[in-house]
Amino acid sequence: MEHILFYVISGLAIISALSVILNKNPVYSALSLVGFLFVQAILFVLLKAYFIAIVQVLVYTGAIMVLFVYVVMVMKLNEELLPRIRLRPFSLFLAGLFASYLFYIFSKTPTFSHPVLKTGDISEIGELLFSKYVLPFEVISLLLLVAMVGAVVLNRKSKHE
């Protein structure tokens, strides 16, 4: 049962991911990305990482992608305005580099048989975040703070205007 679900969901994920890059209308592309992130959340549920799944829905599909779709809609991008996509050797090289890096990460990650979380409970995640992974956690919060300050500074009106 779980295996059938996994294949159906992964199939959906691949279809929606492909439709992100193949769709000509940018709004449909952004919406496919929303669909992809939602399907990915279901994959997290299959891995029994319920908290991660819900946070994925809350943060990505519920907040970040809304802004994405919003910006794409406001920009009024027409198909004629978008550049034709051609495959250049350089872009192929970059894509290959990225793919091999992803493959490297994939070969390093623990498989289904030994997940890091035992129950997927929220308290377990909290404990891990504040003990074993406290340094990466703090570094990421610093990074987010820098991004936030940057956004505020960029949008501040200068006094000369």
Partner: protein, 351 residues
């Protein structure tokens, strides 16, 4: 045995969805009679006793109406947008506890579709998805008024979602759980001997913030700028007619019900009676199923109170200006929510 579990779960889904969906026509009636009551009018009173069958007449009207499409709309998104608005509103109920455990065909289960241990976050996450319906509806209509309405709506909902999420953190700190069922159980003990340990007594500031945010999230007056009639014709659903318009309408009322149910569960002790009264009721020697039903009624009364507040506020306050709305959200609600978390932390640390 598995068949019984499946059957009981299916029955729970059917019965609770039936209850939830039927709140919508009832609420439209309450809204119209309530507004008439507040404004000193009579309101709809011709169809059925007290005009109670008015929603049915409205429903028939919506279905019989011509379904119009305009040549300038994006047809696919125009059709799926109303459904996208309604589906998350219905899905959010899966985690809300309507009552305690009952026994059916030898199988004991709670009056709640799914007891997820992160129920609070689940409801917030699913409810935040309903924004897509509004956003896409406005964009697909390809009309400046509709689009402006959906742009306003998305900015408003994202701003107030932050304060909504932050206002709940204090509750999570006090009751030390994210499961809605455990939240109800944690609130059914006494506080200082007299009061029940309800969220509204332990976190009054959080309640105020939460309640204001729910108004913004459901696009209700005084925050109904996405459909401000005086500026935007009808906002994001200007181009919609018939049943497709009705779906948007239903999703607004469903969102109101979700907000009220969540408020009742988090701040008014959910289905549980205040301590003392529960023992008093159990003294009558009621069967377990009857007690579960009484608790369900208790929960619905609390929800009905909040739903009435929605109507009451709508016909009492004027609409905000958009910059005032944003200022209130970012410069007042979020700082106060953060301070509330800090204060709660100090109190818990001191106790």
């Amino acid at each position: 045995m598995t068949l019984t579990i499946l059957l009981v779960t299916l029955l729970k889904v059917l019965v609770l969805s039936f209850v939830v969906i039927n709140v919508v026509p009832l609420m439209t009636w309450v809204e119209r009679r309530g507004s008439a009551f507040i404004q000193g009018r009579i309101g709809p009173n011709r169809v059925g006793p007290l005009g109670l069958f008015q929603p049915i007449a409205d429903g028939i009207k919506f279905i019989m109406k011509e379904d119009t499409y305009y040549p300038h709309v994006d047809k696919i998104l125009f059709i799926i947008a109303p459904a996208l608005a309604l589906i998350p509103a219905i899905l959010a109920f899966a985690a809300i506890p309507f009552g305690p455990q009952f026994t059916l065909w030898g199988y004991t289960t709670a009056l709640q579709i799914a007891d997820i241990n992160i129920g609070v976050i689940y409801v917030l996450a699913i409810a935040s998805l309903s924004i897509y319906g509004i956003l896409l509806g406005g964009w697909a209509s390809n009309n400046k008024y509709s689009f402006l309405g959906s742009v306003r709506s998305s900015a408003q909902m994202i701003s107030y979602e932050v304060a909504l999420g932050l206002s709940i953190v204090g509750l999570l700190m006090i009751y030390e759980t994210t499961s809605l069922k455990d939240m109800v159980l944690a609130q059914s003990v006494p506080l200082w001997g007299v009061l029940p340990k309800w969220g509204i007594f332990t976190q009054p500031v959080a309640f105020l913030l939460f309640w204001i945010c729910i108004f913004a999230e459901t696009n209700r007056l005084p925050f109904d700028l996405p459909e401000g009639e005086t500026e935007l014709v009808a906002g994001y659903h200007t181009e919609y007619s018939g049943m497709k318009f009705a779906l948007f309408f239903m999703s607004e009322y469903m969102a109101m019900f979700t907000g009220s149910a969540l408020a009742a569960t988090l701040f008014l002790g959910g289905w549980a009676f205040p301590p003392g009264i529960q023992e008093w009721i159990l003294n009558f020697g009621l069967s377990r199923n009857l007690f579960a039903f009484i608790c369900f009624i208790n929960f619905m009364i609390k929800v009905a109170f909040f739903l009435w507040c929605f109507v009451w506020v709508r016909w009492t306050f004027p609409r905000f200006r958009y910059d005032q709305l944003m200022k209130l959200g970012w410069k007042f609600m979020i700082p106060v929510a953060l301070l509330n978390i800090l204060a709660t932390g100090f109190v818990i640390y001191g106790a």
